[in-house]
């Protein structure tokens, strides 16, 4: 008989018999049992409430994306000998896995990510709260003035829940941003004005405009190159 935790408060004592429907694994030195077919994040955060893993690009209604990397944990597939960093929102639970959600290395990594995000979006409430929690003071970098962290939740919501794909992520690297088809900022007919994107946005970067359509967060760096590209394309 082994004691397995099934939620943050509840444990049961059972034999760890083979069973395809459940997975036994260890989280921060606790034995845990959860149903199979989930990711670590889902299993710990949603199903059982064990662990305290931050996440910004995860939402239960859309497919995980793995962009913010805040949910990173350390896992070992060889019983605790070798660990590696994985995004828990994407990594499936497996029998015998050893998971560490809150080691110093993990906290340092999250701290670094928060520092980078806060430098990009210094005025964003969720980031300020995370910064407090993880002890990030003033970012050591030049500050931007964005609101959008490019988690892609709005895009996934519009595509997967609403079925419209009225917005998408365009461009790459630091030029990535959310835009309507053909790199427009004004939403066109594809948008039905449901406001799902504004609702799901974790930073409040998308607001509904007076015309009933969302106002997209423009990346406010003056991108000379894009302007040049556009005018070259226009001839």
């Amino acid at each position: 008989m082994t004691k397995y935790w099934i939620s943050s408060e509840t444990s049961i004592e059972i034999d760890s018999a083979e069973d395809n429907n459940v997975v036994h694994f260890s989280v921060d030195d606790k034995d845990v049992i959860v149903s199979n077919g989930q990711t670590i994040y889902e299993a710990l955060q949603r199903q059982s409430g064990i662990g305290n893993i931050p996440a910004l690009c995860y939402h239960p209604s859309v497919r995980p994306y793995g962009a913010c990397r805040l949910c990173t944990v350390e896992v070992s597939e060889d019983g605790g000998k070798n660990f590696r960093f994985v995004a828990s929102c994407l990594y499936p639970v497996k029998e015998g896995l050893v998971v560490k959600t809150n080691t110093e290395r993990v906290r340092n990594l999250r701290k670094g990510i928060i520092e980078l995000l806060l430098a990009r979006c210094p005025n964003t409430k969720v980031l300020q709260e995370l910064a407090d929690e993880y002890g990030v003071e003033k970012p050591r970098f030049a500050l931007g003035d964005h609101d959008c962290i490019l988690c892609g939740l709005c895009v996934r919501a519009c595509q997967e829940i609403i079925g419209k794909s009225a917005i998408s992520l365009v461009n790459r690297g630091i030029y990535k941003e959310v835009a309507a088809p053909f790199y427009a900022y004004e939403l066109g007919e594809e948008c039905i004005g449901c406001g799902d994107c504004a609702f799901i946005c974790p930073t409040g970067a998308i607001k509904m405009g007076e015309n009933g359509k969302p106002e997209l967060p423009r990346v406010k760096i003056p991108y000379a190159e894009i302007g040049a590209m556009a005018s070259a394309a226009e001839g």
Binding site: G66, R69, Y91, L109, I113, R120, G152, R172, I174
Partner: protein, 626 residues
């Protein structure tokens, strides 16, 4: 007669015996008395005018009606591109460099018809000042083991029969008729072959998991994206010997049970694309692709897919997204491609060079192959050796050769008597290795230990005039531009890294910068989604590790010891050396230099834009950079 007509209509070989018969007849039909002229038609030599040389040879041969006496062919890249256009003549391979169309009549009259080498076209060894007649004696080639690239100089890539004559498709025939899939995979495993696309993953193990993966549809993929700046090994193989890659892929497909393959090649490689398409068509015509290959009952086709040319599309999951017609962005790979790859089907992805190794292993056997190289890295590796080096080009060497041998024996050392400073290996996310490690054997594990990597085989040599901060800045700028921007550590981290490096090279470095960059390096290594981000800090971390003094000189003293970072250098004129000739005055575009004729001149620092024109112009070394 009927037999002949039928043969004309259908070249498809139906049995392994027919292949052998064809091979024998090509070989015996060949008039061996003809003298071979082979002109390199690789992209490098074409850039220096090889096409005109090819035309000139063709015209000259026709004018003199020498078709019966001369066998003339345009081949793929010979590797020594900086000497292009390169021409080889005769069985002993007389090596001519920088050949121009005007040289052609003389080459035909003197060398081809009378066997006399033309001195002016020969290669001179800079070390000994000796002229070298034969390719095999040129130091650049002497130390190489050209298992993969060797055929490049010998066969016309647009003629499958030349590949067949050289033994081509015999490995396929052996695999199909004398080996089980399991046996092929165990041979590849035992050979010790590791993926040449950068990761160095054991190839046999990958094949084994694809074989075991469930599913009736499986895909075989060839990664020919080659996005590293300065690397062109894969391009050269596809341009020079595309059938070696195709043969490898067919063997791989048979081994794992796949009927469909894709070659993902960058669109910026028009010649590679063209020659691969020709090769695929010919392989189809001869029955090496399509249905019932060589009568074995095995079916396999290959489709070519032209990529959009993003560096990140070489990453396996981004490559698959791109093949599927989606945005070329990486995805987490917690489920292996061997189980769920292209369209969620089991997929086997290997690099061009990896595939090209397969026929060799099948033909010559594991024992032979595994004798080449080091304990953990078998076979040869192809490097593109460039930078501050006398002989640059594509170099194929056995794993385990030392960096020193590569740079000094093959590369001929550093030009201009300058001092070696570092060698950057592994492409943009590789690291810089200093002089003290020059005797390190080059293989996957040793390079990783030094904070660099094998990557796709880039090797850039740097001398005392290279600033290591500037080098790090250059690679971070590249990676920042190529980051897909999906995950935070890579998108934001590289932008911040580049911000800091730019500040440092502009003389605005802060004491804490090194620590901040080291922290960012850790976030990238541990937190990024794909290997682009996870390795992107290497250029910075390795230069901080080995060249910290240079960073400190920039940050604390606001000096660039190598004299590269413009904001940190100052030009002045040594009054004792200046003759007042006025050459610098004319060279200066901002009129910053003044002085009386025949009197020492001075530079007005306020007007100087530090372009260095005066420094380059002065014949009396009177301009001081510091």
């Amino acid at each position: 007669m009927v037999e002949q007509v039928r043969k004309l209509l259908d070249k498809r070989l139906k049995t392994p015996e027919e292949l052998e018969k064809l091979r024998q007849s090509i070989i015996s039909d060949k008039d061996t008395s003809r003298i071979l002229i082979s002109v390199c038609g690789g992209t490098g030599c074409r850039a220096s005018g090889a096409e005109a040389v090819v035309d000139a040879f063709a015209e000259e041969i026709e004018r003199l009606e020498l078709q019966a006496k001369i066998e003339f062919k345009e081949t793929g890249c010979h590797g020594f591109c900086e000497r292009g256009p390169v021409v080889l003549i005769g069985p002993k391979k007389i090596f001519y460099q920088h050949v121009q169309p005007e040289d052609v009549p003389e080459i035909v009259a003197e060398t081809v018809l009378q066997g006399k080498p033309i001195q002016r076209l020969l290669y001179t060894d800079p070390a000994t000042n000796e002229e070298i007649t034969y390719e095999t004696d040129v130091p650049f080639y002497k130390r190489q083991t050209r298992l993969i690239l060797g055929a490049n100089g010998e066969i016309d890539p647009t003629d499958i029969e030349q590949y067949i004559a050289a033994g081509g498709y015999s490995a396929l025939s052996k695999a199909l008729f004398h080996m089980t899939p399991e046996k092929i995979i165990s041979e590849v495993t035992d050979s010790g072959l590791r993926g040449r696309g950068g990761g160095g993953f054991p190839t046999g193990r990958k094949w084994q998991s694809c074989l075991k993966a469930k599913g009736d549809i499986k895909y075989v993929l060839c990664n020919a994206d080659e996005g590293d700046p300065g690397a062109y090994q894969d391009r050269s193989i596809l341009e020079g010997n595309p059938h070696s890659v195709i043969e490898g892929m067919i063997i791989g497909a048979y081994a794992i049970g796949s009927n469909n393959g894709y070659i993902y090649v960058r669109n910026e490689y028009p010649l590679a694309v063209e020659r691969t398409i020709i090769a695929l068509e010919q392989a189809m015509d001869y029955g090496f692709l399509g249905e019932n290959i060589l009568g074995s009952g095995f079916n396999f086709t290959i489709t070519i897919n032209k990529g959009g040319g993003a560096f990140v599309c070489g990453e396996s999951s981004a490559l698959i997204a791109s093949l599927e017609g989606k945005i070329g962005e990486p995805k987490a790979k917690y489920t292996h491609m061997s189980e769920k790859g292209l369209w969620d089907k089991p997929s086997l992805l290997n690099n061009v060079k990896t595939w090209a190794n397969v026929p060799l292993i099948v033909n010559k056997g594991t024992d032979w192959y595994s004798k080449i190289g080091t304990k953990g890295s078998k076979g040869t590796m192809i490097f593109s050796l460039v930078g501050k080096i006398n002989n640059s080009g594509l170099v194929e060497v056995p794993m385990g050769i030392t960096l020193r041998e590569m740079i000094y024996d093959i590369g001929g050392g550093i030009p201009g008597g300058k001092k070696f400073k570092a060698v950057q290996t592994g492409g943009p996310s590789g690291g810089c290795i200093p002089e003290e490690y020059l005797d390190t054997p080059v293989d996957f594990d040793e390079l990783t230990k030094l904070g660099s990597m094998m990557g796709s085989g880039g090797m850039i040599v740097m001398d005392e005039d290279n600033c290591m901060v500037d080098v790090a800045r250059y690679f971070i700028e590249f990676l920042k531009g190529e980051s897909c921007g999906k995950c935070v550590p890579c998108r934001e981290g590289l932008a911040k890294m580049s911000e800091i490096l730019n500040r440092i090279s502009h003389g605005q470095g802060k004491p804490e910068d090194i620590e901040v960059m080291t922290d960012l390096g850790e976030i990238l290594n541990n937190g990024a989604l794909c290997a682009l981000g996870r390795s992107a800090a290497n250029p910075v971390l390795s230069t901080i590790k080995y060249f910290k003094d240079e960073y400190l000189a920039h940050i604390n003293d606001k000096k660039c010891p190598a004299g590269v970072c413009r904001e940190l250098i100052e030009y002045s004129i040594d009054p004792d050396k200046c003759t007042g000739c006025g050459a610098c005055v004319r060279a200066c575009s901002t009129n910053a230099i003044s002085g009386e004729k025949k009197e020492p001149h001075v530079i007005n620092q306020g007007m100087c834009i530090k372009c260095g024109a005066c420094y380059d112009t002065c014949k009396f070394d009177a301009v001081i950079k510091g």
